[in-house]
Symmetry: C2
Amino acid sequence: MSFLSAQALVADDLADMERLLLKKVGSDYPPLTEALRGLVQSGGKRVRPTLVLLAARFHPPRERKRLLSLAAAVEALHTATLVHDDVVDGARMRRGRSTLNTRWTPASTIMAGDYLFARAAALAADTQNPRVIQLFANALSVIVDGELRQAFTARDWDQPKDAYYKRIYGKTAALFEVATRATAVLGEASAEAEEALRAYGYHLGMAFQIVDDILDFVADETTLGKPAGSDLRAGIITLPVYYFMQQPERRARLMALAEGDAHAQDAMGEMVRLVRESDAIAQAKAEAEMFAEKAITALEIFPPSPHHQALIDIARYVVAREF
Amino acid sequence: MSFLSAQALVADDLADMERLLLKKVGSDYPPLTEALRGLVQSGGKRVRPTLVLLAARFHPPRERKRLLSLAAAVEALHTATLVHDDVVDGARMRRGRSTLNTRWTPASTIMAGDYLFARAAALAADTQNPRVIQLFANALSVIVDGELRQAFTARDWDQPKDAYYKRIYGKTAALFEVATRATAVLGEASAEAEEALRAYGYHLGMAFQIVDDILDFVADETTLGKPAGSDLRAGIITLPVYYFMQQPERRARLMALAEGDAHAQDAMGEMVRLVRESDAIAQAKAEAEMFAEKAITALEIFPPSPHHQALIDIARYVVAREF
């Protein structure tokens, strides 16, 4: 079963979420509306709202409108962080398309991201549930904290694995976690069910980001839509690099390249190749698989059902995917 | 009665708000915490939280903690928008101090602003009142919309007055309005009282921004902490410029300078001088006074009281202030 067939279970909800999202990102300034709609339609797989809509099948909230608001809030927040990430990284390509960055001034791009943050906040407020809103607001702090941490720890080669974990929690897992947990809260699930869905989202998000970090090394550039090894090029130490550096002689070789002189024209390319061809990739992959298994285990308190199976399938898909 | 004596009425609440704000902007990453605390402590007059705390005296909310959260949320959001404004404008000075901009990379500055947005959202969520949160989230959209509008309409010399109104509503009045209105909602005020406090905040905010836009021309640079006429230099058309342009021969002179060649070395300085020395300043001032009077009139439904008088005094102060 593929991601698409898991997603098909909630196709109707997803289509309504999409309509709500497009409506909510509209402003009364047409060029802005057009740009924002372009952004939210730029080909994401809607993984996060799909998780919300599937998780909701365990404890359907009384008002469907509020559930759709939550799903749209999660996707709007995700898109907002991508926009600011692209300004921060100076990224020119994402998903094989040029970023807003390349067409707008940095100033306008920052503000477009702010506008999406604002709309995400408004959508979260539309759930009318103070606890959901509070979880959402706290997740936003964790997300931004993760981005800042990434910026401040760039090129710090000897970070403990925990530092990496903390960063990818902020970067990805915090939003996955709030997506499934807030859905449980909205559906007035028991504390036990809330914890199970929170743990599913958290572990899935960790697996997802580790795989993203692996793909940054191993996927081909056409699929990535950006140069391979771009994290390492930007000095961001991900799990494959962490494992690579655990062997002193490999660490020394990488450091020599990192600190090498200008004669070593493609030192970066060589660093990326070294990591890609090492067993550090398999070590990182095994860790992603462990997180995905923990996500699946967290759901064991629920009886079998199509949506339960779909969430299991998504966890398997997340580690098996090649882009 | 000065602003400070009006503020003295709520000195205790304000001190507690300050403590809450400093606590909430802390992160577990010390350099970030230090930078953010520096930002929120960088000498603002706390006009907005003062309005919240004074407005609350009409209908004290049952839980003081929630009121303090609202006041701190408003100030945090205000500070967040300043941080992004400074990146967007490339500003190097604010209130006579160097901006975060000058010490951090744009990327880190964007993220610091995002972090403050996140903390503002968390503080708003702490009010536990869905309507307050919704008002707050919608105000955030209006604020960002105003910033975008300002960017997109720069150097559009023939904007109607309404376009200026819409921009300053986003830039300033929307937050003043939500400050006093959300306070009424939190205190479970009647619809009539909520509308009165909303109208007070709205009109006061409009007056405040018009005066800011006047001061940008007439205040001396030491007081401003930045070059005079910096709005006009950045192509932002404010009310004094609008009035100046209403006379065709003055408009023609300004346009000639704006489109002039590189020989006219200080064309910008000359433009600023022309506007400053014209009666457009007095016309704009009269309009600010009209807005301040409307703010005062909105409060007429309330019986006399020290906090009522303090809000009247603040409205008078806002138009009389010279910085």
